[in-house]
Symmetry: C2
Subunit: 365 residues, 2 copies
């Protein structure tokens, strides 16, 4: 790490491969398609790591990301974001070249799409299983029927199935709650499949969120999973009981620039533009933006929870540390910060570095 | 705006020029150098707008930004961030080519710098006037003397003065508090200048924060101001009473992708990766990530405060709107979001668009 002089997003490839392998195995054991969400890493190079586990279908969250991965050889992409009809030209261009699936959750979009789609495209109907962000409530089968019947007017459009993101597992207060929210979502999706498979025998269920995809074991009738965060994991996932520290594959490595003895604070070059502003509550009830790993006696050491990233401004990070740890920081040192939310931290990095020193470019490079 | 199909950061050049002119005038009337902070816009093109008002010295917050602006013709740059000694090679390279000032706030850095600085460089000592982020307390004149005497060992190094960022004006609860915090900081800086000008007759005071630089009028003995945010302003500044809505020069323009009638929510394509996660408390006590401007009857209309950006995920923004406004949003519309913190929102944009349709590149392009 001696060549790092600025805040640098560092990825441990070995941990990533282990995380991918575990999820690929779970998908295959449950006879599900593994369609990982690439919004977490947004990198063509990291995409290649998935091919080692026979992944050939992916999920992204924007047309822009779909264009990037299509350019990098991916031929089967689902854009898991309510279709933005203003991007119809780009969507048609993609659909002309790859197997493209898009997400629809309202009749307004459906009515625009049937007039404007020019190439074969798959449609998933977005179902809201309780996260209350987007999607149609599973009880509203009338709206779902209207959308399906609307799509029947354009032969280029194929109904693929129902898709949900059980995002409220991220807000669970226990792993039990993750299980119950997943199970509740599963039942809702199964009942929809049951109802519509009479007319559409090949209709699918697609589910995807890292907490339930990691922890849960009941995926009966589920055709595909789309987890994203699991490749890196982060403090939020550790805090939820979804992963261990040893599963977290990423660090923001930051230089120490100042020490404030009177406040037991260490100032690092590494702020909101590097880490993102996602926080979780620390054990002292305060907002925490990252945990700290230092090099001590030739070994890496995760500092106890009362040492943490306590405040961020644009380029500054302020570490609150205990009196005992204060002396372990020197101006010019590099410290490793475990990010709270790896997806947003990765998005801010122009490029990554692997622990082996390999540079990794992304859609943001 | 008909060509916008994705979340786009739009800048009103006319408002920017008005904001720059006002601040340049204030600096000139108070006989201060106007050294604007370019971390807000991070754009060479927008930098040119400052030249219309005879600005030839600037502030940045990283070596990387200094390199970018030096490449774009700026010859007098202060890096207003505690010097990161790991970047010494880059700092020397810059100092060889332009008038460079760096910031020092501890003896550790000073001791490294005297050994490694190879080209003429200016030093500002960072003073903490109450923000409690970085800097030396003004009462600790012993440490300041030690640092100054350390620097006397390297003839390439010139002590320029004392620099502070009265960042706690951002946390003021009234404009009165902005005045009193500025005045308190001013007194502290003046007493330092008084004390050290016997030995250093040319020693300067540099202050810079948008709230006090905009509102306050007492700058006696201040040699330079370094505001940054004022070129764009934002909701945080409006909320503090620092600017009016008509002074806010930027919008994130976002497509509407879904409507959730049961919750009076509108879903836009525009999330944490576009707006940043900075929030302020709305009048209903909830976190608010942006205010909404819509096009209605051919006119732009700022919606009342109970219509606002209430939640963000990576790419989604959720607008809470009143029942009366709900019908004014249609899938495929573009809405304008006034950002809470324009610096962080601008940093996330790869490029900007002016209201005249001109594309603007930045250090992140």
């Amino acid at each position: 790490m001696t060549e790092i002089i600025r805040p640098t997003f560092v990825v441990d490839k070995e941990i990533c491969l282990r995380n991918i392998e575990r999820m690929a195995k779970k998908a295959s054991e449950n006879k599900m398609r593994f369609r990982p969400h690439f919004k977490t890493h947004q990198s063509a190079k990291i995409g290649e790591w998935f091919k080692l586990f026979d992944v050939d279908a992916i999920t992204v969250s924007s047309v822009n990301m779909a264009e990037y991965f299509a350019t990098n050889g991916w031929k089967d992409i689902t854009i898991a974001f309510p279709v933005n009809v203003l991007e119809i030209t780009n969507i048609n261009r993609l659909a002309a070249n790859i197997k493209l699936n898009i997400l629809v959750e309202n009749l307004d979009s459906a009515q625009i799409l049937i007039k404007k789609i020019r190439y074969p495209i798959g449609i998933y109907i977005k179902i809201d299983t309780g996260y209350n962000r987007t999607g149609i409530a599973p009880s509203k089968t009338g709206i779902i029927e209207n959308i399906i019947s609307c799509f029947s007017q354009n032969k280029k459009i194929t109904l693929k199935g129902f898709l949900t993101h059980t995002g409220h597992t991220y807000q669970a207060r226990s792993t039990n709650e993750i299980f119950s929210r997943h199970f509740d979502a599963l039942l809702k999706m199964k009942s929809l499949k049951q109802r519509f498979k009479i007319d559409f025998p090949k209709i699918e269920i697609s589910m995807g969120d890292t907490p339930s995809n990691t922890l849960c074991t009941n995926f009966s009738d589920v055709d595909e999973i789309r987890p994203g965060n699991f490749i890196f994991y982060d403090l939020m996932m550790e805090n939820l009981g979804v992963c261990d520290y040893k599963d977290i594959a990423v660090r923001m490595v930051c230089p120490v620039v100042a020490k404030q003895l009177s406040r037991n604070e260490i100032v690092i070059y590494g702020g909101a533009v590097h880490l993102s502003q996602d926080s979780i509550a620390n054990i002292d009830g305060k907002r925490m933006f990252g945990r700290i790993v230092i090099q001590k006696d030739g070994e890496k050491k995760l500092l106890p929870p009362l040492n943490y990233v306590a405040r961020l401004s644009q380029e500054h990070g302020i570490l609150k540390v205990t009196q005992a740890q204060f002396k372990n920081f020197q101006v010019g040192d590099l410290v490793e910060i475990i990010p709270v939310h790896s997806c947003l931290t990765a998005n801010l990095a122009k490029k990554y570095l692997t622990t082996d020193g390999e540079e990794i470019l992304t859609v943001n490079s």
